[in-house]
């Protein structure tokens, strides 16, 4: 009996070795490895097999046929994660109504958005692409890996939490732009009230379905009961109440942030983190106690009045108080320099290099629910890596290569080579043209 079990068991365990559909084999050699969570290896190697990190250490020999990347003199770090963007989608915000949780950005993905390449050039391997902040309750978001050249479906990260976008403050109350069709709510009281109203409606909806299903089981009524109408809007909110989705709430002012925490307690739903949270430093205490993180800009501020007290020290200060902070770009331009933003937390906030690096790697990974597969360089995690020519926290650094699951998606040296060849071809064409004209 035992003799049979062991091989069967081994056979089964083979099924569980993760193999990623677009994963490849790669060996990175001789770089300074910043693992993020387990210190720095001054001169080390990383072996990736089928997209998963198999070994990290010194002097790893290349197995046969595995491509090698020479990272001598360079810094090898976990791929950067941007936990708040609006790239790779063709629609931003369902503005026709104030409450639209039934819509999902998954339905409007665009794998051909050049912003994906822009993200890669900045060492970003994964993004949380979101619904806009024009609605108190917006829509469902999605996490993508920046696999430029593959289809949208191949980019979706299924391990991530399901998240629902909420928004508070000036944007959902429509006060910092002109609209010809203002709708309720137009005040912070209204924003809070409408969120409460919809959650009460969802609670009610859940109740109606629960009763129907219960009645169906009992013998008496059965036949003539009309089922309640399945309402996708209410279903989405019901999922939030059931804990199947987490809230990601856009807010600036400390007070509105606290009010939303109260709402979450009133209805028993979970907040993954607050977006922007300019005034988080004012309520670092509450955020740390509740275990709610923030996803912020380091120093983009004063562009509207609710951001007028968004000090650059906030990210560092909150981190020191025990809040899980990540830094995001919310922009297809700023996504290229998230590592610069993180580095500023050393000057403004007094964080160490390691703490600063976490703001754009493991911290956002935890917030998105993907810390088991990304956010740091550890055996068993996905081979999502960015290679920099200087320390990523230096102002002089530049991303030279971005790798996702062992496949190279951005290679500066290759890019320059191709560009040079193209320019040569163009110059030759020009010469020919001029020659012909004569």
């Amino acid at each position: 009996m035992k003799k049979k079990i062991i091989p069967i068991f081994l056979g089964f365990s083979l099924l569980f070795i993760p193999v990623l559909a677009s994963g490849q084999n790669l060996l990175i050699k001789n770089g300074t490895i910043l693992t993020v969570t387990k210190g720095t290896i001054p001169r080390g190697d990383i072996l990736i097999i089928n997209g998963i990190i198999k070994k990290i250490g010194e002097n790893i020999e290349a197995p046969e046929g595995v491509k090698t990347v020479d990272a001598s003199g360079k810094y090898v770090v976990a791929g950067i994660i941007d936990s708040h963007t609006h790239i790779a989608i063709t629609a931003g915000n369902e503005s026709s109504e104030a409450i639209t949780p039934e819509v999902s950005v998954r339905d409007v993905l665009n794998a051909e958005d050049t912003a994906i390449y822009t993200a890669l050039s900045g060492g970003v391997t994964m993004v949380h692409t979101m619904h806009g902040s024009g609605n108190p309750i917006g829509g469902q978001n999605i996490v993508l890996k920046m696999k430029w050249g593959l289809s949208a479906e191949e980019m979706i990260v299924h391990e991530a939490y399901r998240t629902l976008k909420f928004a508070l403050g000036e944007n959902p109350k429509q006060s910092n732009f002109f609209t010809a069709t203002p709708r309720y709510p137009q005040s912070r009281m209204g924003v809070n009230a409408i969120i409460r109203r919809e959650l009460l409606k969802a609670k009610n909806y859940k109740e109606q379905w629960d009763r129907y299903l219960k009645a169906k089981k009992s013998k008496k009524s059965a036949k003539n009961l009309i089922p309640p109408r399945k309402n996708l809007r209410m279903e989405a909110l019901a999922d939030l109440l059931r804990g199947k989705m987490l809230a990601r709430c856009h807010s600036y002012r400390a007070d509105e942030t606290l009010e939303f925490i109260n709402l979450s307690k009133e209805f028993g739903f979970k907040i993954a983190c607050f977006e922007h949270a300019s005034e988080a430093f004012k309520i670092a205490k509450e955020l740390a106690e509740e275990g709610i993180g923030t996803s912020v800009f380091l120093d983009s501020w004063a562009y509207k009045i609710e951001a007028y007290e968004g000090i650059a020290y906030s990210a560092g200060f909150c981190t020191k108080k025990g809040v899980l902070v990540s830094i995001n770009s919310d922009s297809s331009e700023r996504i290229r320099r998230l590592f610069n933003d993180a580095a500023k937390s050393m000057k403004y906030g007094g964080l160490t290099e390691e703490e600063a690096l976490k703001l754009v790697t493991i911290n956002p990974a935890i917030q998105l629910g993907v810390e088991k597969i990304a956010g740091s360089l550890e055996v068993g995690k996905h081979g999502d890596i960015a290679i920099f020519n200087e320390h990523p926290m230096s102002a002089y650094t530049r991303c030279d290569m971005t790798i996702i699951e062992g496949k190279i998606y951005f290679d500066r040296a290759q890019y320059l080579k191709e560009r040079e060849e193209e320019e040569k071809k163009k110059a030759e064409k020009e010469k020919k043209k001029k020659g012909e004209k004569k």
Partner: protein, 536 residues
């Protein structure tokens, strides 16, 4: 007084003409097309064959030796010509009379004037049909006998209709009303949904609501006692057969993501779904094995495409080389498809782009199938059209050479057994000497007297189109060619419900057009001068 007398006489004169003219005859005629090569598409070609048409149907076809020509048949000598099935364009938005839209008078910051919900599932496009002789004529010129007219506006745009272009009366042209429900991944205006993600949610919710509506209705129908009466909803009522009885739904897909969106919905709700548009279908060929595919021949890459965002050079290459190869790539992946004119504004572009697709690698035979038997099969009408065989509708075209060749012209076309001669385009056309666009007025002088007319002309290079208005009404000016100062055009006059073509030939100067109308038994002179436009 004089005018009244003239009108009465003219009226009788024209009535006489109608009896003797013979530009088109209605079904009831019997034809024998003889001595041509016959390409039935669904069976092997016949080198020298005969096709017998009676009462709008093909009663027999075969090699010349084997077919007996009926006594009452009009013999059409077709030596040197080739007979093909009439072509089917399975997605067009032409022929629709949509209310003239005011150009968006939207000022910055003002609310949109109209609210468009986009939910017209109960709209059958037949109601909006306005078949124009000129459009029918331009389709005939390229050999198209059958079109699927799809409604354009809205998310649930409405139900499409299949027409045989056999004349003018819309009713007579209908082959199948309500062929499919057309769904577009577009947005509503002024109301939910304002984005495509909202549209997807709306589609899903509507499908769920149709199911719920149906189950409520069924429950009520089986025993109305003690059950709340379901509220009538025309939108859902119309939707039910498509969601629950697998009546076809055609999704218009403008890019590869639309295709995937449609496929997700088809899968989630087990719909009988077709895909149309799809000019970049080759990029998602792996997904397309099972779904009927109608591929449009417009080659402009969609805005979301990578070919548009990487610079001018690539964009041009995409439009000239990459997208025209769509059909060829699909064929190589083993996918069956139909080719449509969706996205094109002129019927002549349909033929031109078929030729471009062939040039880009699509085998000619496949192109022919894609506009004959494949669309017929997808639309469920292959028992009555799509190929030349006994018992099928007599949609036949006679061409001067191999179909889709540069020099080939359609000489004759039979639609529902009605024969149309295609006029020869003028051999040598010079550049137009001037622009005739605008208003003209003058007189028609005939043996019977004078008739006041006004003309409104449009000109695009050599082509002239327009209308001529008189006490008889408004008539279409078609097939107009201005070569240098030589002007020719045809007027399709409608008198007493009958149509009669009158050919004009004459000279055009800056302010004066003069020439002669000829019809089968006589002629009339016309002289018109330009109406000066009030200073600009």
């Amino acid at each position: 007084m004089k005018t009244k007398k003239f009108l009465v006489l003219f009226y009788f004169f024209l009535a006489f003409l109608i009896l003797v003219s013979s530009s088109s005859t209605y079904a009831g005629s019997v034809y024998a097309i003889v001595n041509c090569k016959v390409v039935p598409v669904a069976s092997s070609a016949i080198d020298k064959g005969v096709i017998i048409i009676r009462d709008g149907l093909i009663v027999s076809l075969g090699p010349s030796e084997k077919i007996v020509i009926p006594e009452d048949a009009e013999v059409i000598e077709a030596e040197g010509l080739i007979a093909y099935p009439g072509l089917i364009d399975a997605h067009t938005n032409l022929f629709l009379e949509l209310p003239k839209e005011e150009p968006a008078q939207r000022q910055r910051g003002m609310a949109p004037q109209e609210k468009e919900t986009g939910r017209y599932s109960d709209l059958t496009v037949f109601k909006l049909l306005k078949p124009k002789k000129t459009t029918i004529g331009s389709y005939h010129k390229i050999g198209v006998t059958t079109v699927l007219v799809a409604p354009k506006k809205g998310i649930f745009a409405g139900q499409s209709v299949l027409l045989n272009l056999n004349g003018e009366k819309a009713e007579a042209m209908v082959v199948k009303n309500s062929v499919a429900l057309q769904i577009n991944f577009t947005r509503a205006r002024g109301v939910y949904p304002a984005t495509v993600m909202g549209t997807m949610a709306l589609l899903r919710q509507s499908f769920l609501d149709a199911k719920h509506y149906h189950s409520h209705k069924s429950l009520y129908a089986s025993s109305s006692k003690g059950i709340k009466r379901p509220e009538y909803d025309p939108f859902l009522e119309a939707l039910v057969p498509f969601i629950l009885e697998r009546k076809p739904i055609i999704f218009t897909c403008n890019n590869q993501e639309d295709i995937k969106r449609a496929l997700r919905l088809i899968d989630e709700f087990k719909l009988n779904g077709f895909l149309s548009g799809a000019n970049e279908a080759w990029r998602v060929a792996d997904y397309l094995k099972k779904t009927p595919l109608f591929v449009s021949l417009h080659f402009k890459p969609p805005i979301t495409s990578i070919y548009v965002n990487k610079g001018e050079e690539l964009k041009e290459k995409a439009e000239k080389e990459i997208y025209p190869a769509n059909a060829s790539n699909l064929y190589k992946s083993g996918i069956r498809f139909a080719l449509t004119s969706y996205g094109l504004t002129k019927a002549s572009d349909y033929l031109k782009n078929i030729q471009k697709a062939i040039k880009a690698g699509l085998p000619k035979e496949e192109a022919l199938k894609a506009v004959t038997i494949h669309p017929a099969q997808f639309l469920g009408v292959n028992n009555i059209m799509g190929s030349l065989s006994e018992g099928k509708i007599a949609n036949v075209i006679l061409t001067s050479g191999e179909i889709f060749e540069e020099k080939t012209r359609v000489k004759r076309i039979f639609v529902d057994g009605v024969m149309f001669k295609i006029k020869k385009p003028p051999e040598k056309v010079k550049a137009p000497a001037l622009n005739l666009a605008g208003k003209w007025e003058g007189t028609v002088i005939s043996p019977m007297g004078e008739l006041d007319v006004t003309m409104e002309l449009e000109q695009e290079e050599n082509e002239i189109l327009g209308t001529i208005t008189s006490n008889f009404g408004i008539w279409e000016i078609s097939d107009g060619i201005l070569s240098g100062n030589d002007l020719t055009f045809t007027i399709s006059a409608t008198i007493m419900g009958e149509s009669i073509d009158m050919e004009f030939s004459g000279k055009a100067e800056e302010d004066l057009i003069e020439g002669t109308f000829s019809f089968s038994s006589g002629s009339a002179e016309i002289r018109v001068t330009r109406v000066p436009t009030s200073g600009f």
